[in-house]
Amino acid sequence: MDKKKIIKELIEIITPYVPEKELIDNIDESKELINDLHINSAHIVDIVLDVEEKYDIMIDDDAIGKMNTVGESVSMIMEKIKS
Protein backbone atom coordinates (compact mmCIF):
# COMPACT_ATOMS: atom_id res chain seq x y z
CA MET A 1 0.00 0.00 0.00
CA ASP A 2 1.11 3.54 -0.73
CA LYS A 3 3.06 5.00 2.20
CA LYS A 4 1.84 8.54 1.57
CA LYS A 5 -1.74 7.32 1.73
CA ILE A 6 -1.13 5.57 5.03
CA ILE A 7 0.52 8.66 6.53
CA LYS A 8 -2.52 10.71 5.51
CA GLU A 9 -4.92 8.15 6.98
CA LEU A 10 -2.93 7.85 10.20
CA ILE A 11 -3.04 11.62 10.64
CA GLU A 12 -6.81 11.48 10.26
CA ILE A 13 -6.97 8.81 12.94
CA ILE A 14 -4.83 10.67 15.47
CA THR A 15 -6.20 14.17 14.90
CA PRO A 16 -9.09 13.97 17.41
CA TYR A 17 -6.61 12.94 20.12
CA VAL A 18 -4.24 15.88 19.54
CA PRO A 19 -5.21 18.67 21.93
CA GLU A 20 -3.72 21.58 19.96
CA LYS A 21 -4.60 21.84 16.29
CA GLU A 22 -1.34 23.68 15.39
CA LEU A 23 0.58 20.52 16.20
CA ILE A 24 -1.25 18.72 13.39
CA ASP A 25 -0.38 21.47 10.93
CA ASN A 26 3.34 20.91 11.54
CA ILE A 27 3.25 17.14 11.65
CA ASP A 28 5.96 15.01 10.03
CA GLU A 29 7.27 11.45 10.34
CA SER A 30 9.79 12.33 13.06
CA LYS A 31 7.11 13.57 15.52
CA GLU A 32 6.63 11.50 18.67
CA LEU A 33 2.95 10.83 19.46
CA ILE A 34 3.20 11.56 23.18
CA ASN A 35 6.09 14.01 23.54
CA ASP A 36 5.63 16.10 20.40
CA LEU A 37 1.93 15.78 19.64
CA HIS A 38 0.89 15.84 23.33
CA ILE A 39 -1.41 12.85 22.95
CA ASN A 40 -2.48 11.53 26.36
CA SER A 41 -0.63 8.23 26.83
CA ALA A 42 -3.95 6.53 27.72
CA HIS A 43 -5.18 7.28 24.20
CA ILE A 44 -2.41 5.29 22.50
CA VAL A 45 -4.53 2.15 23.00
CA ASP A 46 -7.47 3.94 21.35
CA ILE A 47 -5.33 4.87 18.36
CA VAL A 48 -4.17 1.26 18.12
CA LEU A 49 -7.83 0.08 18.12
CA ASP A 50 -8.75 2.63 15.44
CA VAL A 51 -5.78 1.50 13.32
CA GLU A 52 -6.66 -2.18 13.76
CA GLU A 53 -10.20 -1.53 12.65
CA LYS A 54 -9.17 0.59 9.68
CA TYR A 55 -6.67 -1.92 8.25
CA ASP A 56 -8.13 -5.14 9.65
CA ILE A 57 -4.85 -6.00 11.36
CA MET A 58 -3.85 -6.98 14.89
CA ILE A 59 -1.19 -5.01 16.75
CA ASP A 60 0.19 -6.88 19.77
CA ASP A 61 1.58 -5.30 22.94
CA ASP A 62 5.20 -5.57 21.78
CA ALA A 63 4.35 -3.79 18.57
CA ILE A 64 2.58 -0.97 20.43
CA GLY A 65 5.85 -0.26 22.24
CA LYS A 66 7.54 0.35 18.89
CA MET A 67 5.04 2.98 17.72
CA ASN A 68 6.67 6.05 19.26
CA THR A 69 6.75 8.31 16.24
CA VAL A 70 4.47 8.89 13.28
CA GLY A 71 7.07 7.24 11.02
CA GLU A 72 7.44 4.18 13.25
CA SER A 73 3.67 3.78 13.39
CA VAL A 74 3.39 3.94 9.60
CA SER A 75 6.16 1.31 9.23
CA MET A 76 4.36 -0.92 11.73
CA ILE A 77 1.08 -0.64 9.82
CA MET A 78 2.78 -1.42 6.50
CA GLU A 79 4.56 -4.43 7.99
CA LYS A 80 1.32 -5.83 9.46
CA ILE A 81 -0.62 -5.29 6.24
CA LYS A 82 2.03 -7.27 4.33
CA SER A 83 2.16 -10.24 6.73
Binding site: P16, H43, D46
Partner: protein, 428 residues
Protein backbone atom coordinates in the same frame (compact mmCIF):
# COMPACT_ATOMS: atom_id res chain seq x y z
CA UNK B 1 -18.95 32.68 61.28
CA UNK B 2 -20.29 34.85 58.52
CA UNK B 3 -22.56 32.95 56.18
CA UNK B 4 -22.33 33.84 52.52
CA UNK B 5 -25.38 34.64 50.44
CA UNK B 6 -25.44 32.44 47.35
CA UNK B 7 -26.65 33.49 43.91
CA UNK B 8 -26.93 31.98 40.44
CA UNK B 9 -24.94 33.65 37.67
CA UNK B 10 -25.01 31.15 34.82
CA UNK B 11 -27.33 28.52 33.33
CA UNK B 12 -27.10 25.82 30.70
CA UNK B 13 -29.30 22.97 29.48
CA UNK B 14 -29.62 20.13 27.01
CA UNK B 15 -33.13 18.71 27.08
CA UNK B 16 -35.43 16.60 24.90
CA UNK B 17 -37.09 19.78 23.61
CA UNK B 18 -34.08 22.10 23.34
CA UNK B 19 -30.34 22.52 22.88
CA UNK B 20 -29.21 25.36 25.10
CA UNK B 21 -31.02 27.61 27.59
CA UNK B 22 -32.25 30.06 24.95
CA UNK B 23 -33.99 27.35 22.95
CA UNK B 24 -35.26 25.82 26.19
CA UNK B 25 -36.85 29.14 27.12
CA UNK B 26 -38.75 29.22 23.81
CA UNK B 27 -39.80 25.59 24.17
CA UNK B 28 -41.12 26.22 27.69
CA UNK B 29 -43.08 29.28 26.59
CA UNK B 30 -44.58 27.41 23.66
CA UNK B 31 -45.28 24.26 25.66
CA UNK B 32 -43.30 22.17 23.19
CA UNK B 33 -43.25 18.44 23.80
CA UNK B 34 -39.91 16.69 23.30
CA UNK B 35 -41.40 13.20 23.54
CA UNK B 36 -41.11 10.96 20.51
CA UNK B 37 -41.92 7.41 19.44
CA UNK B 38 -38.89 5.11 19.05
CA UNK B 39 -39.32 2.21 16.62
CA UNK B 40 -36.40 0.37 18.20
CA UNK B 41 -38.37 0.03 21.45
CA UNK B 42 -41.23 -1.66 19.60
CA UNK B 43 -38.79 -4.10 18.04
CA UNK B 44 -37.32 -4.85 21.46
CA UNK B 45 -40.73 -5.55 23.04
CA UNK B 46 -40.85 -2.56 25.37
CA UNK B 47 -44.23 -1.74 26.90
CA UNK B 48 -43.33 1.96 26.75
CA UNK B 49 -42.08 2.86 23.29
CA UNK B 50 -41.83 6.62 23.73
CA UNK B 51 -39.19 8.81 25.34
CA UNK B 52 -37.43 12.14 25.38
CA UNK B 53 -34.04 12.32 23.69
CA UNK B 54 -32.21 15.63 23.22
CA UNK B 55 -31.98 16.51 19.48
CA UNK B 56 -28.18 16.50 19.61
CA UNK B 57 -26.12 17.35 16.52
CA UNK B 58 -22.37 17.29 15.94
CA UNK B 59 -22.60 20.97 14.97
CA UNK B 60 -24.01 21.84 18.39
CA UNK B 61 -21.40 19.75 20.20
CA UNK B 62 -18.58 21.33 18.18
CA UNK B 63 -19.92 24.84 18.90
CA UNK B 64 -19.15 24.46 22.62
CA UNK B 65 -16.69 21.60 23.03
CA UNK B 66 -13.41 20.41 21.46
CA UNK B 67 -13.73 18.14 18.42
CA UNK B 68 -12.80 15.17 20.58
CA UNK B 69 -16.32 15.12 22.04
CA UNK B 70 -18.26 14.74 18.80
CA UNK B 71 -15.69 12.39 17.30
CA UNK B 72 -14.75 10.11 20.18
CA UNK B 73 -16.92 10.37 23.29
CA UNK B 74 -19.69 7.79 23.10
CA UNK B 75 -21.50 8.30 26.41
CA UNK B 76 -24.33 10.75 25.78
CA UNK B 77 -24.68 11.63 29.47
CA UNK B 78 -21.08 12.89 29.46
CA UNK B 79 -21.65 14.97 26.33
CA UNK B 80 -24.88 16.45 27.77
CA UNK B 81 -23.12 17.35 31.04
CA UNK B 82 -20.18 19.05 29.34
CA UNK B 83 -22.53 20.99 27.04
CA UNK B 84 -24.74 22.29 29.85
CA UNK B 85 -21.77 22.86 32.19
CA UNK B 86 -19.74 24.83 29.65
CA UNK B 87 -22.80 26.80 28.53
CA UNK B 88 -23.46 27.81 32.16
CA UNK B 89 -19.80 28.67 32.76
CA UNK B 90 -19.65 30.90 29.67
CA UNK B 91 -23.02 32.44 30.59
CA UNK B 92 -21.53 33.39 33.97
CA UNK B 93 -18.88 35.37 32.13
CA UNK B 94 -15.96 32.98 32.36
CA UNK B 95 -13.79 31.74 29.51
CA UNK B 96 -12.51 28.33 28.53
CA UNK B 97 -9.08 27.00 27.96
CA UNK B 98 -7.10 28.58 30.79
CA UNK B 99 -3.86 26.73 31.55
CA UNK B 100 -3.95 27.60 35.23
CA UNK B 101 -5.79 25.83 38.01
CA UNK B 102 -8.53 27.83 39.72
CA UNK B 103 -8.65 26.83 43.41
CA UNK B 104 -11.61 29.09 44.17
CA UNK B 105 -14.03 27.24 41.90
CA UNK B 106 -15.36 23.70 42.02
CA UNK B 107 -17.97 21.33 40.66
CA UNK B 108 -20.84 19.23 41.96
CA UNK B 109 -22.11 17.19 39.03
CA UNK B 110 -24.25 14.11 39.46
CA UNK B 111 -25.89 11.38 37.45
CA UNK B 112 -28.34 8.62 38.18
CA UNK B 113 -25.98 6.27 36.43
CA UNK B 114 -23.30 6.78 33.80
CA UNK B 115 -22.68 3.09 33.15
CA UNK B 116 -26.17 2.24 31.93
CA UNK B 117 -25.99 4.62 29.01
CA UNK B 118 -26.07 3.11 25.57
CA UNK B 119 -23.22 4.22 23.41
CA UNK B 120 -23.79 7.08 21.08
CA UNK B 121 -22.26 5.69 17.92
CA UNK B 122 -22.48 1.97 18.43
CA UNK B 123 -25.25 -0.54 18.64
CA UNK B 124 -23.77 -2.38 21.58
CA UNK B 125 -23.42 -2.10 25.31
CA UNK B 126 -19.72 -1.97 26.08
CA UNK B 127 -19.58 -4.93 28.42
CA UNK B 128 -20.55 -7.23 25.53
CA UNK B 129 -16.93 -7.00 24.34
CA UNK B 130 -15.95 -8.63 27.60
CA UNK B 131 -18.55 -11.38 27.17
CA UNK B 132 -17.22 -12.09 23.68
CA UNK B 133 -13.68 -12.44 24.98
CA UNK B 134 -12.50 -9.15 23.52
CA UNK B 135 -11.80 -6.98 26.59
CA UNK B 136 -8.95 -5.17 24.80
CA UNK B 137 -11.53 -3.60 22.50
CA UNK B 138 -12.88 -1.57 25.41
CA UNK B 139 -10.05 0.89 24.80
CA UNK B 140 -9.04 3.58 27.25
CA UNK B 141 -12.29 5.49 27.51
CA UNK B 142 -14.72 2.94 28.91
CA UNK B 143 -13.69 3.54 32.51
CA UNK B 144 -13.59 7.31 32.29
CA UNK B 145 -16.97 7.41 30.54
CA UNK B 146 -18.70 4.89 32.80
CA UNK B 147 -17.29 5.86 36.18
CA UNK B 148 -19.84 7.72 38.27
CA UNK B 149 -17.54 10.72 38.44
CA UNK B 150 -17.14 10.79 34.65
CA UNK B 151 -19.34 13.83 34.02
CA UNK B 152 -17.46 16.00 36.52
CA UNK B 153 -14.13 14.59 35.35
CA UNK B 154 -14.68 15.41 31.66
CA UNK B 155 -16.10 18.83 32.51
CA UNK B 156 -13.13 19.67 34.67
CA UNK B 157 -10.72 18.43 32.03
CA UNK B 158 -11.92 21.45 30.09
CA UNK B 159 -11.91 23.93 32.98
CA UNK B 160 -9.13 23.11 35.43
CA UNK B 161 -11.08 23.93 38.59
CA UNK B 162 -9.21 23.22 41.81
CA UNK B 163 -11.76 23.44 44.61
CA UNK B 164 -14.01 20.51 45.50
CA UNK B 165 -15.04 18.35 42.54
CA UNK B 166 -17.86 16.09 43.70
CA UNK B 167 -20.05 13.61 41.84
CA UNK B 168 -23.30 12.97 43.65
CA UNK B 169 -25.85 10.30 42.89
CA UNK B 170 -29.27 10.10 44.52
CA UNK B 171 -31.61 8.78 41.85
CA UNK B 172 -34.21 11.36 40.77
CA UNK B 173 -33.11 13.76 43.53
CA UNK B 174 -29.61 13.98 42.04
CA UNK B 175 -30.15 17.25 40.16
CA UNK B 176 -31.55 19.38 42.95
CA UNK B 177 -29.17 17.73 45.40
CA UNK B 178 -26.16 18.83 43.33
CA UNK B 179 -27.38 22.43 43.59
CA UNK B 180 -28.09 22.06 47.31
CA UNK B 181 -24.61 20.65 47.99
CA UNK B 182 -22.94 23.47 46.06
CA UNK B 183 -25.11 26.01 47.87
CA UNK B 184 -24.06 24.71 51.31
CA UNK B 185 -20.41 24.68 50.29
CA UNK B 186 -20.52 28.30 49.15
CA UNK B 187 -22.62 29.40 52.11
CA UNK B 188 -19.92 28.03 54.40
CA UNK B 189 -17.33 30.13 52.57
CA UNK B 190 -15.29 27.23 51.19
CA UNK B 191 -15.30 28.36 47.56
CA UNK B 192 -16.29 31.37 45.46
CA UNK B 193 -18.20 29.54 42.79
CA UNK B 194 -19.39 26.05 41.92
CA UNK B 195 -20.77 24.60 38.69
CA UNK B 196 -23.65 22.43 39.85
CA UNK B 197 -25.80 20.17 37.77
CA UNK B 198 -26.71 16.68 36.75
CA UNK B 199 -27.05 14.50 33.70
CA UNK B 200 -28.60 11.29 32.44
CA UNK B 201 -28.21 9.34 29.24
CA UNK B 202 -31.10 7.79 27.37
CA UNK B 203 -31.89 4.68 25.41
CA UNK B 204 -32.84 1.09 25.76
CA UNK B 205 -30.40 -0.02 28.45
CA UNK B 206 -31.49 2.42 31.14
CA UNK B 207 -35.14 2.54 30.05
CA UNK B 208 -35.49 -1.25 29.83
CA UNK B 209 -35.05 -1.66 33.55
CA UNK B 210 -37.73 0.94 34.31
CA UNK B 211 -40.01 -0.67 31.74
CA UNK B 212 -39.60 -3.97 33.58
CA UNK B 213 -40.77 -2.29 36.79
CA UNK B 214 -43.99 -1.27 35.00
CA UNK B 215 -43.56 2.32 36.07
CA UNK B 216 -43.42 3.74 32.52
CA UNK B 217 -46.34 4.99 30.44
CA UNK B 218 -47.45 2.21 28.11
CA UNK B 219 -50.70 3.61 26.75
CA UNK B 220 -49.50 6.44 24.48
CA UNK B 221 -47.20 4.76 21.97
CA UNK B 222 -49.41 6.02 19.15
CA UNK B 223 -49.62 9.51 20.57
CA UNK B 224 -46.29 10.32 22.28
CA UNK B 225 -47.02 13.95 23.20
CA UNK B 226 -49.82 12.97 25.59
CA UNK B 227 -47.83 10.23 27.36
CA UNK B 228 -46.45 12.50 30.06
CA UNK B 229 -49.45 14.00 31.86
CA UNK B 230 -48.58 14.87 35.45
CA UNK B 231 -51.61 15.53 37.71
CA UNK B 232 -54.03 14.10 35.15
CA UNK B 233 -56.76 11.68 36.19
CA UNK B 234 -55.38 9.27 33.58
CA UNK B 235 -51.66 9.45 34.47
CA UNK B 236 -50.34 5.98 33.80
CA UNK B 237 -46.61 6.09 34.44
CA UNK B 238 -43.70 8.34 33.60
CA UNK B 239 -42.14 8.85 30.19
CA UNK B 240 -38.36 8.38 30.33
CA UNK B 241 -35.95 10.98 29.03
CA UNK B 242 -32.33 12.11 29.02
CA UNK B 243 -30.50 15.41 29.28
CA UNK B 244 -28.61 17.72 31.56
CA UNK B 245 -28.96 21.05 33.32
CA UNK B 246 -26.27 23.14 34.99
CA UNK B 247 -26.12 26.27 37.13
CA UNK B 248 -23.17 28.39 38.16
CA UNK B 249 -23.59 29.15 41.86
CA UNK B 250 -21.53 31.98 43.25
CA UNK B 251 -21.20 33.86 46.50
CA UNK B 252 -23.03 37.16 46.32
CA UNK B 253 -19.77 38.97 47.14
CA UNK B 254 -17.97 37.37 44.22
CA UNK B 255 -20.82 38.04 41.79
CA UNK B 256 -21.06 41.71 42.84
CA UNK B 257 -17.31 42.11 42.62
CA UNK B 258 -17.31 40.73 39.08
CA UNK B 259 -20.31 42.90 38.22
CA UNK B 260 -22.11 40.09 36.38
CA UNK B 261 -25.76 39.35 35.78
CA UNK B 262 -27.45 37.60 38.70
CA UNK B 263 -30.47 35.42 37.94
CA UNK B 264 -31.63 34.61 41.45
CA UNK B 265 -30.61 34.03 45.02
CA UNK B 266 -30.92 30.65 46.68
CA UNK B 267 -32.75 31.58 49.88
CA UNK B 268 -32.67 28.16 51.46
CA UNK B 269 -33.19 24.48 51.07
CA UNK B 270 -33.33 21.08 52.68
CA UNK B 271 -32.21 17.56 51.90
CA UNK B 272 -33.53 14.60 53.86
CA UNK B 273 -34.70 11.02 53.72
CA UNK B 274 -37.92 9.33 54.72
CA UNK B 275 -35.84 6.43 56.01
CA UNK B 276 -37.98 4.00 53.99
CA UNK B 277 -40.33 3.91 56.98
CA UNK B 278 -43.91 5.07 57.59
CA UNK B 279 -45.05 4.47 54.03
CA UNK B 280 -41.66 5.21 52.54
CA UNK B 281 -39.94 2.41 50.64
CA UNK B 282 -37.17 1.87 48.16
CA UNK B 283 -39.41 3.36 45.49
CA UNK B 284 -42.02 5.47 47.32
CA UNK B 285 -41.60 8.50 49.56
CA UNK B 286 -42.57 8.73 53.18
CA UNK B 287 -44.96 11.69 53.06
CA UNK B 288 -44.07 12.81 56.58
CA UNK B 289 -40.46 13.36 55.49
CA UNK B 290 -41.54 15.11 52.28
CA UNK B 291 -43.62 17.56 54.31
CA UNK B 292 -40.75 18.08 56.75
CA UNK B 293 -38.32 18.68 53.86
CA UNK B 294 -40.53 21.38 52.34
CA UNK B 295 -41.26 22.97 55.75
CA UNK B 296 -37.57 23.17 56.60
CA UNK B 297 -36.70 24.66 53.20
CA UNK B 298 -39.30 27.40 53.76
CA UNK B 299 -38.00 28.01 57.29
CA UNK B 300 -34.39 28.19 56.10
CA UNK B 301 -35.42 30.62 53.39
CA UNK B 302 -37.14 32.83 55.99
CA UNK B 303 -40.17 33.39 53.79
CA UNK B 304 -43.87 33.05 54.32
CA UNK B 305 -45.51 30.39 52.10
CA UNK B 306 -47.88 33.08 50.82
CA UNK B 307 -44.93 34.73 49.05
CA UNK B 308 -44.48 31.72 46.76
CA UNK B 309 -45.46 32.47 43.14
CA UNK B 310 -44.77 29.04 41.71
CA UNK B 311 -44.29 25.45 42.78
CA UNK B 312 -42.09 23.55 40.33
CA UNK B 313 -43.15 20.06 41.28
CA UNK B 314 -41.49 16.71 40.95
CA UNK B 315 -44.84 15.50 39.49
CA UNK B 316 -43.86 12.58 37.27
CA UNK B 317 -47.20 11.49 35.74
CA UNK B 318 -47.72 8.58 38.11
CA UNK B 319 -50.18 7.79 40.86
CA UNK B 320 -47.84 9.63 43.23
CA UNK B 321 -48.88 13.03 41.84
CA UNK B 322 -52.03 13.51 43.99
CA UNK B 323 -50.03 12.55 47.09
CA UNK B 324 -47.35 15.07 46.15
CA UNK B 325 -49.93 17.87 45.83
CA UNK B 326 -51.38 16.88 49.20
CA UNK B 327 -47.88 17.07 50.72
CA UNK B 328 -47.24 20.51 49.22
CA UNK B 329 -50.58 21.70 50.57
CA UNK B 330 -49.87 20.33 54.03
CA UNK B 331 -46.28 21.62 54.20
CA UNK B 332 -47.13 25.13 52.98
CA UNK B 333 -50.41 25.33 54.87
CA UNK B 334 -52.09 26.52 51.66
CA UNK B 335 -55.02 25.16 49.70
CA UNK B 336 -57.83 26.31 47.42
CA UNK B 337 -57.38 29.80 46.02
CA UNK B 338 -54.41 30.47 48.31
CA UNK B 339 -52.38 27.65 46.74
CA UNK B 340 -49.61 28.88 44.38
CA UNK B 341 -49.54 28.05 40.68
CA UNK B 342 -47.98 24.66 40.07
CA UNK B 343 -46.46 23.10 36.95
CA UNK B 344 -44.32 20.18 35.85
CA UNK B 345 -41.53 20.44 33.27
CA UNK B 346 -41.85 16.67 32.88
CA UNK B 347 -45.08 17.20 30.95
CA UNK B 348 -42.87 18.40 28.06
CA UNK B 349 -39.62 16.47 28.42
CA UNK B 350 -40.56 13.38 30.37
CA UNK B 351 -38.59 12.29 33.40
CA UNK B 352 -34.88 12.67 32.73
CA UNK B 353 -34.06 10.61 35.86
CA UNK B 354 -30.89 12.00 37.51
CA UNK B 355 -30.71 14.85 35.01
CA UNK B 356 -34.17 16.20 35.70
CA UNK B 357 -33.79 18.28 38.88
CA UNK B 358 -31.14 20.57 37.44
CA UNK B 359 -33.05 20.92 34.15
CA UNK B 360 -36.16 21.89 36.12
CA UNK B 361 -34.17 24.46 38.11
CA UNK B 362 -32.97 25.99 34.83
CA UNK B 363 -36.67 26.14 33.84
CA UNK B 364 -37.46 27.97 37.11
CA UNK B 365 -34.77 30.57 36.41
CA UNK B 366 -35.96 31.08 32.83
CA UNK B 367 -39.50 31.67 34.07
CA UNK B 368 -38.23 34.24 36.59
CA UNK B 369 -36.05 36.01 34.05
CA UNK B 370 -38.65 36.12 31.29
CA UNK B 371 -41.71 36.64 33.49
CA UNK B 372 -43.89 33.72 32.49
CA UNK B 373 -45.19 30.46 33.87
CA UNK B 374 -44.93 27.56 31.48
CA UNK B 375 -47.91 25.34 30.84
CA UNK B 376 -48.21 21.91 32.38
CA UNK B 377 -49.23 19.90 29.32
CA UNK B 378 -52.06 17.36 29.16
CA UNK B 379 -53.89 18.72 32.19
CA UNK B 380 -57.34 19.07 30.64
CA UNK B 381 -58.66 16.54 33.11
CA UNK B 382 -57.14 16.84 36.59
CA UNK B 383 -57.11 14.00 39.09
CA UNK B 384 -60.14 14.31 41.44
CA UNK B 385 -57.98 13.97 44.57
CA UNK B 386 -56.01 17.02 43.42
CA UNK B 387 -59.19 19.00 42.72
CA UNK B 388 -60.29 18.38 46.31
CA UNK B 389 -57.30 20.50 47.39
CA UNK B 390 -56.73 23.07 44.67
CA UNK B 391 -58.81 24.57 41.86
CA UNK B 392 -58.17 23.79 38.19
CA UNK B 393 -56.82 27.28 37.48
CA UNK B 394 -53.74 26.66 39.65
CA UNK B 395 -52.40 24.33 36.94
CA UNK B 396 -51.72 26.38 33.80
CA UNK B 397 -52.73 24.76 30.51
CA UNK B 398 -51.22 27.65 28.57
CA UNK B 399 -48.24 29.88 29.16
CA UNK B 400 -49.12 32.70 31.60
CA UNK B 401 -47.43 36.08 31.41
CA UNK B 402 -46.61 36.87 35.02
CA UNK B 403 -43.85 38.21 37.22
CA UNK B 404 -42.31 35.31 39.12
CA UNK B 405 -40.37 36.38 42.19
CA UNK B 406 -40.28 33.35 44.46
CA UNK B 407 -40.18 29.72 43.35
CA UNK B 408 -40.07 26.57 45.41
CA UNK B 409 -38.76 23.41 43.79
CA UNK B 410 -38.57 19.85 45.00
CA UNK B 411 -37.51 16.46 43.72
CA UNK B 412 -38.01 13.05 45.26
CA UNK B 413 -36.02 9.93 44.45
CA UNK B 414 -35.78 6.18 44.81
CA UNK B 415 -34.26 5.31 48.16
CA UNK B 416 -36.79 7.68 49.79
CA UNK B 417 -34.73 10.82 49.20
CA UNK B 418 -36.09 14.38 49.17
CA UNK B 419 -34.63 17.74 48.21
CA UNK B 420 -36.29 21.14 48.24
CA UNK B 421 -34.95 24.57 47.28
CA UNK B 422 -36.34 28.11 47.48
CA UNK B 423 -35.19 30.65 44.89
CA UNK B 424 -35.85 34.37 44.66
CA UNK B 425 -35.42 36.47 41.57
CA UNK B 426 -32.57 38.93 41.93
CA UNK B 427 -33.54 42.57 41.87
CA UNK B 428 -30.55 44.88 41.90
Amino acid sequence: MKENRVVITGIGAVTPNALGAKEFNNALQQGKSGIQYWEELTRLNFRCQIGGVPPLTDEYIDSLLPEYFSKKITNKAIIYSCLSGIEAWLDAGFGMGSDTRDPESGIVFGAGDLGFDSLRNSQEYYSYYVDRGEPRKLGSRTISEAMNSGAAAYLNNLLGLGNRVISNSSACTTGSESIFLGYEHLKAGKAKRMICGSTEGDGRYIWGAFDAMRVLCADSNENPAIGSRPMSDTSSGFVPGGGSGALVLETLDSALERGVKIYAEILGGELNSGGQRNGGSLTAPNSEAVVECIEHAVEQAKISPSEIDLISGHLTSTKGDPIEIENWSKALGLSGDDFPLVNSVKSMIGHCIGGVGSIELVACLLQMENEFIHPSLNTQSIHPEILKLIPNKKIPQKSIKKEVKTVIKANFGFGDLNCCLVLRKWEA
